[in-house]
Amino acid sequence: MAANKKEKLSPAKRKALMRRSIPIYIMALPGLLYLFINNYMPMPGIILAFKNYNAKKGIYGSPWAGTKNFKYLFSTQDAFVITRNTICYNVAFIIINLIFAVGVAIILSEITSKAKKFYQSTILLPYLLSAVIVSYLVYAFLSSENGFINNSILIPLGKEPISWYQDKRPWPFILVFVNLWKGIGYNCIIYLSTILGFDRSYYEAAAIDGATKWQQISKITLPLLRPTIIMLTLMAVGRIFYSDFGLFYQVPQNSGALYSVTNTIDTYVYRGLLELGDITMSAAAGVYQSLVGFVLVLAANLTVRKLDPDSALF
């Protein structure tokens, strides 16, 4: 875009531009080379989703299957539930994680207490645990016989213990909470480092003008954070049809009673293909998820480019 305008420059200026650009291209080269090797070389493998794979003929020689491999994603009664769950959870995650991550990042950047480092390290820790370990910890709180919530809270209060893994009502909240708990430390880092990069003179000037803390946050920090927020959200939108398998499969302990609120596209595919082991069907699921994400990102990016060209992804 910027380049297009410069296209009409005089030859001398164009030459100067090229001279400046060459070192930049060299800088970009290792990264682009890696993307080529890691992402673009296997990319043609996407056609696997449209093939009737047979090892004797190889991926490219196998007969075409049309859209047969995609059928199972749409033609069943579960299609609606899994799509709804995937989208709703992702929207909830995007919004809630954003609010908390920005909030925590702002607080962390502003407080002066010595415990600051401790806070920051500690809240990152849950992110480092694998989903299975998280599921054990959740189980420690929710199990019917030995769980803390039943034994240490509900029973002493004289309330009926709850069979958590058979009651689907609380699970949307539990999953959102676990997701937030696990990701908050990680998610806030990026905002925190961005805030720390801001020019402190803005704040000093504002303080001299008598701006309150809240005014500083809402008038300086948030507007400056806007491009980062938009970018992160755009990227999250691209993954809206994906779900964290561990969160939706391990954490609810794969309990059948909870499926209507925990079954997402990824868990559905996993359960269905566990025995079938069909690589073309799983490839189809991947293509479906990518395609929807791609369309949504393009649309969202277009909107952003109209409103705020600097924040757009491309």
């Binding site: 820790l125 054990y136 708990w181 994400g293 992804l313």
Partner: protein, 299 residues
């Protein structure tokens, strides 16, 4: 005076909020540590508890004395994380900086190509075939290092956005006019101003390497001596899961299940896996602080 009070109120409020969040994060982790020190039979009988009936260090003894050397796996993890983070940071930073140059012809297209990799991928089988047959990475250390982790579009875009907002063009242009080359401008001006984001992305890459088990799982079938700590942990957990799911086809699954160390060992492995990051992270944080002071100077 009123401003001081307001500042104080904010500090109190901020600390309270952070205390609550920190408590939420740390309580389950304390439970994790306690259960790793609980007697295994007690865990099975009574479930997880903050005040176990019987303590035991068996889990750690098992981990540090069993066939697969945990110490060796630690070394692999450390080397992998260090090398991976350095290489990853270099290529990520360079590409991100290039993309932040508004004057660069073809910038839009390159950015699109980068973002596109975030949305589409060839899938596991083609990626595997690519790395094993074209690059012969199977059963080598490079198989842990290269596939998937070295650089990703997300980090590039984050960094690019920081370069755009955090490193003002005017300073770089000024340097350029003063006769600095693009490389000099990058190293002397852009990099020092970007310490917070470099520390952040470095942390992201480092965590990704430290936590990864997928590459070892897929690409190391013979060289189990190259297993990282997460490979060991995940192998154990996944084996247990496999047996539970397949006990109908494998009638002898119970034999297998009984031979795999159970609850307390899994917990201890998780502790062992997280510990180094707990130790290293505070040092990384120092870079954020440095970033602040530099940021102050530049204005």
């Amino acid at each position: 005076m009123q401003k001081m009070g307001q500042e104080k109120r904010f500090q109190i409020f901020g600390n309270i909020v952070m205390c609550i969040i920190t408590a939420c994060a740390i309580i389950p982790l304390i439970l994790l540590v306690i259960s790793s020190f609980t007697d295994n039979d007690t865990l099975i009988r009574n479930g997880y508890s903050f005040f176990p009936e019987k303590w035991s260090t068996y889990a750690y003894e098992y981990i540090f004395t069993s066939g697969d050397s945990v110490v060796h796996a630690y070394m692999i993890s450390f080397v992998l994380t260090a090398v991976g983070t350095c290489c990853g940071l270099v290529i990520t930073t360079l590409l991100a900086y290039a993309l932040s140059k508004k004057f660069l012809p073809g910038r839009g297209l390159i950015t699109f190509l980068v973002v596109f990799t975030m949305l589409f991928n060839g899938g596991l089988v083609p990626t595997y075939i690519n790395y094993t047959t074209v690059f012969n990475l199977k059963n080598t250390f490079l198989a842990l290092l290269v596939p998937g982790l070295l650089m990703n579009a997300f980090n590039v875009m984050m960094m690019k956005s920081y370069f755009v907002t955090g490193v003002p063009d005017e300073i770089l242009e000024a340097a350029y006019i003063d006769g600095a080359t693009e490389f000099q401008a990058f190293f002397r001006i852009a990099l020092p101003l970007s310490k917070p984001i470099i520390a952040t992305i470095g942390l992201f890459i480092g965590i990704a390497y430290w936590n990864d088990w997928m590459n070892g799982y897929i690409y190391l079938t013979k060289r189990t001596d190259l297993y990282s700590i997460q490979n060991l942990l995940n192998r154990m957990i996944q084996n247990i899961q496999f047996l539970q799911q397949n006990s109908s086809t494998i009638s002898n699954a119970s034999v297998g299940l009984a031979s795999i160390p159970s609850v307390s060992v899994r917990m201890a492995m998780a502790v062992v896996g997280v510990l180094p990051i707990v130790i290293i992270y505070p040092f990384v944080q120092n870079n954020f602080v440095k970033g602040i002071t530099l940021g102050g100077v530049k204005g």
